[in-house]
């Protein structure tokens, strides 16, 4: 399978911009369930063309108990049982209606601390449901909810909100034609609405209306003897009645453990020394609790810590930038066998540049902080990776070996990190990536020979930390708080679908893109971090440096302006953030 995982439906995701850092534990709202099985029953008021109709909706949805920052939180399938009073059904739907199917789009709300985002859970459907009998009608709509990721620890609450409901009435099968007489087009449902006027036809004992018309004013074609759907779908918007708790489930995202630093308690250190700052806001003193202080929104980042995994972002870019011209890093190149031929051969001129470009976005997971940082945020002017493809090849067909080497220039924008926590104090910082040269790309493999295509992208980048705020208060770390030596980043991608050793994971391929991972990233110690004479190197090194970090990147399809100009049009796509769950 080429490229990354695609959700079953695209989701419109409207993020609500968040305010500044809020310290303090999350309010202890109900929670119907803390993860596990979310069950909720709410009263809704629906507005149909015919008027208001009150319904009851029972929501059932499984959620994971816990989740990890930077990894997808995937709600289970949603089941929504909408109970419509019989009188209302009769009033809304044409006389000949024997069964009804339905669709719904639900707006869900996701909150974490002060971060808040809406999600569109659309495409819920209910199958044909018979309207026989006199009981209230229950339509059960089901569907899938897209995943979401958070970049910080803290409880994530999923709530239900407004939904649209469309009913498709269906006449009885052939042989039972009915002819609805034109009549008053308004029909008010009796139910719990306060509407006074009711159509007397709505209350016949057997629940059928002799002369009702569809409540949206169109005349139902009751004579569709073939059983085709009666004309006149009925659509309404339903809002939860006020005063109810609409939280369906809460998923715990545990905070980092054991991050108390030697010599630095929550109150001590240069921060407290700045005077007057209350430490009373620090909360969640037990590091394993999920109720850590509300993580702040990264400045300017709508949705705060909540990252929609399905919102498409338009780049508006259809041309590449500057093609990098630089040598391949010989340390990154595999050894050449004695039968391998390297081109260009010695004495031959270099190949002309092979310009290409594309977007790569993703997460870096920092082991010590159990948190994730967005790399090249799709929502914050992501930067194109510029490629110069095919500088060098190694051909050894006798050994079924072909290798193509390229370079990539990737100058990432700063990432806002919102999870740094010292002594359990919410800390934000900007993390700047400083490339040390270009990335060298080595690709090997040939489908003909039944070999997976392997891509290895290696390069060095320093990170510099600045704009640090602890609990909202700036901590001056100086202009040069950076890694003492660069990170050695090695990303791997693999394309093997259909091959005997297909790993079953989405494929990566240079032109179509896909997942690239570095499972084994070491963050070196920090140097140059100083505040008013105090050396903070040890602070950052203890908090961040070490092995066990990872990078999870999605590369989008590349634009090849020379050979495939249409690959750049209408625009170079920005991929969705990685969704695939990692072990």
């Amino acid at each position: 399978m080429r490229g990354g995982v695609r959700p079953r439906r695209s989701v419109r995701f409207a993020a609500v911009a968040t305010a500044a850092l809020v310290a303090g534990a999350l309010p202890g709202t109900n929670s119907a369930a803390s993860g596990g099985r979310g069950e909720l029953s709410l009263a809704y008021a629906c507005q149909f063309a015919s008027g208001e109709q009150d319904v009851t909706i029972a929501f059932t949805q499984r959620f994971p108990q816990t989740a990890t920052a930077g990894k997808p939180i995937q709600p289970g399938d949603l089941a929504m049982a909408v109970t419509i009073p019989r009188a209302g059904v009769t009033a809304m739907l044409p006389a000949a209606t024997a069964s009804v199917s339905a669709e719904s789009d639900l707006t869900a709300h996701i909150t974490q601390g002060s971060s808040d985002a809406d999600a569109d859970w659309s495409g819920l459907t209910a199958p044909e449901t018979s309207l026989a009998g006199t009981d209230d009608v229950v339509l059960t709509l089901t569907g899938k909810a897209p995943a979401v990721t958070v970049t910080a620890s803290g409880d994530v609450a999923f709530s239900v909100g407004v939904l649209t409901l469309t009913l498709h009435p269906r006449a009885a099968a052939a042989g039972t034609p009915t002819t609805p007489a034109p009549g008053p087009t308004t029909a008010r449902a009796a139910g719990t609405a306060t509407a006074a006027a009711t159509d007397t036809n709505a209350t016949t004992a057997d629940g059928t209306t002799a002369n009702g018309t569809a409540s949206d004013g169109t005349t139902a074609d009751g004579t569709t003897a073939s059983g085709a759907a009666a004309a006149g779908d009925v659509t309404g918007t339903c809002t939860p009645e006020p005063g109810q708790d609409a939280v369906l489930a809460t998923v715990h995202v545990p905070g980092p453990t054991g991050t108390t630093l030697p010599g630095h308690s929550a109150a001590a250190g240069p921060v407290a020394g700045r005077g007057g700052r209350s430490t009373g806001h620090a909360s969640g003193a037990d590091g394993t609790a999920s109720g850590s202080s509300g993580p702040s929104a990264a400045a300017g980042r709508a949705g705060g810590t909540i990252v929609p995994l399905d919102q498409p972002v338009h780049s508006g870019v259809s041309t590449c930038g500057k093609t990098p011209i630089a040598p391949l890093d010989p340390r990154r190149l595999p050894p050449v066998s004695d039968t391998g031929i390297v081109v260009p051969m010695p004495g031959q001129p270099a190949f002309p540049p092979g310009p290409m470009c594309g977007f790569a976005v993703g997460f870096s997971n920092v082991n010590k902080l159990n948190g994730a940082m967005i790399i090249n945020d799709p929502h914050a002017k992501p930067v194109l990776a510029e490629v110069n493809s095919g500088q060098r090849k190694v051909l050894d067909y006798s050994k079924q070996y072909v290798e193509v080497d390229s370079i990539i220039d990737l100058r990432l924008p700063p990432s806002a990190s919102t999870f740094l926590t010292f002594g359990f104090m919410p800390t934000t910082a900007d993390v700047e990536f400083i490339p040390r040269g270009v990335f060298t790309v080595v690709q090997t493999g040939d489908d003909f020979f039944g070999e997976p295509i392997l891509t290895t992208i290696g390069g060095y980048q320093d990170i510099r930390i600045h704009n640090v705020r602890i609990n909202g208060t700036p901590l001056d770390v100086g202009p040069d708080c950076h890694t003492a030596k660069p990170l050695d980043i090695v990303l791997h991608g693999r394309k093997d679908s259909g091959l005997p050793d297909d790993d079953g994971k989405p494929d990566y391929f240079i032109d179509a893109g896909g997942p690239l991972t570095d499972e084994d990233l070491v963050i070196p110690p920090f140097t140059g971090c100083a505040s008013h004479g105090e050396n903070l190197d040890a602070l950052f090194t203890a908090a961040l440096s070490g092995p066990g970090n990872s990078l999870n990147i999605s590369q989008g399809p590349l634009c090849d302006p020379i050979n495939v100009p249409e690959s750049c049009l209408p625009e170079i796509p920005i991929p969705q953030l990685p969704q695939r769950k990692k072990s």
Binding site: Q348, F351, G354, S389, V402, Q443, D447, I453, I510, D560
Partner: protein, 210 residues
């Protein structure tokens, strides 16, 4: 019929144009006015083993299927020259090294089938007028004959009992105008070979001589 000598794979001839002299010194007795075509008319040929090889580097491009449309008019006492016409050729599912997928397009159609010699139900001849180009991610190349502006001549065989038209993989095909990541895998001027067996339908075409 003399076969074109192919370059060995261990040598890499980069960038130099190799002009292959193709001498189809067909037995004159079989060349003109002795051919009979029956069961002719329009036909479609399908191949599932089409392979284009850069014979200098060994790089191969394979297509899962190719389809050709053509015709050969019935008659007797026909010249071998232009005994049939190929009016369309398409390829699908083509990929090369690193699994890069390619589009292949035939140029300069119609191409012409020429019968040169006949023996035991099998006609040997040529396909002339051949030009094509390939485009894939990171790679573009054209294919033509002895020079980039000359069309190529490919050796073919047709078997009356199997109704298979075979591109033998010999001829004077060369790569030109190579750009992109392909460079080094395919180079401008490299000789190339195209092989494929096309099964014709209807399975009626019969070519004999005399």
């Amino acid at each position: 019929m003399r076969k074109l000598s192919t370059l060995t794979r261990t040598g890499l001839v980069a960038g130099s144009a190799v002009v292959a002299a193709v001498a189809f010194a067909a037995a004159p007795a079989n060349a003109a006015g002795t051919w009979t075509v029956s069961g002719g008319g329009s036909f479609t040929g399908k191949s599932t083993n089409s392979t284009l090889t850069d014979t200098s580097t060994g790089t191969q491009l394979k297509c899962t299927s190719s389809s050709a449309g053509g015709s050969a008019a019935n008659g007797t006492g026909l010249s071998g020259t232009n005994i049939g016409t190929i009016s369309s050729v398409t390829w699908s599912g083509c990929s090369g090294p690193l699994g890069i997928t390619f589009n292949v397009t035939a140029d300069g159609l119609p191409w012409h089938l020429n019968a040169v010699s006949y023996s035991g139900g099998v006609t040997t001849g040529t396909l002339t007028g051949v030009k094509a180009h390939i485009g894939g991610f990171g790679c573009t190349a054209s294919f033509a004959g002895a020079s980039s502006t000359a069309t190529a001549t490919l050796d073919v065989k047709y078997n009356n009992s199997t109704h298979v038209l075979s591109l033998l993989g010999t001829g004077n095909l060369h790569a030109y105008g190579v750009s992109g990541t392909c460079l080094g895998l395919i180079n401008s001027g490299d000789p190339a070979s195209y092989k494929g067996d096309y099964t014709l339908t209807p399975a009626t075409l019969s070519i004999t001589s005399p």
